[in-house]
């Protein structure tokens, strides 16, 4: 057991917590934060596990750097989408306006909730 491994286990816990949040939460921004938490957890596992004998390993560190950039790209894109979605529909969750059926009837209803 090395400190690195401790962080790997912390990563495992973060994945669990994040997953719970991701599946549980409805608000899209919260979902997004949960996604970032899982991401951090995965990165911790990646580096922590690879460095379990205490020696730094530059390869997973480089991978995590790449991963962070990808994550911020995805997050930023998601934020833009969410904001536009909110702008158009006034909603902050993915709940369908009219139940689950694919009928388009209730569409005008959610339009009226436009923001600003």
């Amino acid at each position: 057991m090395t400190p690195s491994l401790l962080y790997a286990f912390a990563g495992v816990a973060l994945c669990g917590i994040g997953l719970f949040g991701f599946l549980r939460l409805q608000h899209l921004l919260r979902k997004l934060m949960a996604f970032n938490l899982i991401g951090s957890g995965v990165f911790l596992v990646m580096v922590g596990l690879a460095q379990r004998n205490g020696q730094p390993d530059p390869v997973p560190q480089a991978l995590v750097l790449t991963g962070i950039v990808v994550a911020i790209a995805a997050t930023a894109l998601a934020v833009v989408l969410i904001r536009r979605y909110y702008h158009l529909s006034g909603q902050t969750t993915l709940a369908e306006p009219a139940a689950k059926s694919a009928r388009p009837k209730a569409r005008s209803v959610n339009r009226e909730g436009a923001p600003e």
């Binding site: 962080y7 912390a10 608000h27 979902k31 560190q61 934020v79 904001r83």
Partner: protein, 94 residues
Amino acid sequence: MTEWLLDGLLVLALLTTAVAVLASRNLFRAVVMFIAFGLLMALAWVRLQAPDIALAEAAIGAGLTGVLLLDAARHLGYNRGRAGDGDDQGGASG
């Protein structure tokens, strides 16, 4: 021993803030917690002998993501969509 203590505390703090991010009722608070989480992550990376990631995490993870989320949270309104509403249906599992 002190190192272990330090690491243990850091991990504990990380997990606590993570839970706080998801559990806090106020969206704005959650985002602030998220920024704090990013900073703690940066510390963790330092402890993992990964200064590059620490820098990136501080700048990107905590800084930029935080600002983005803050701005979005302001746009969407702080008190909309509290943590506890709705059922457990996720975007992925539907």
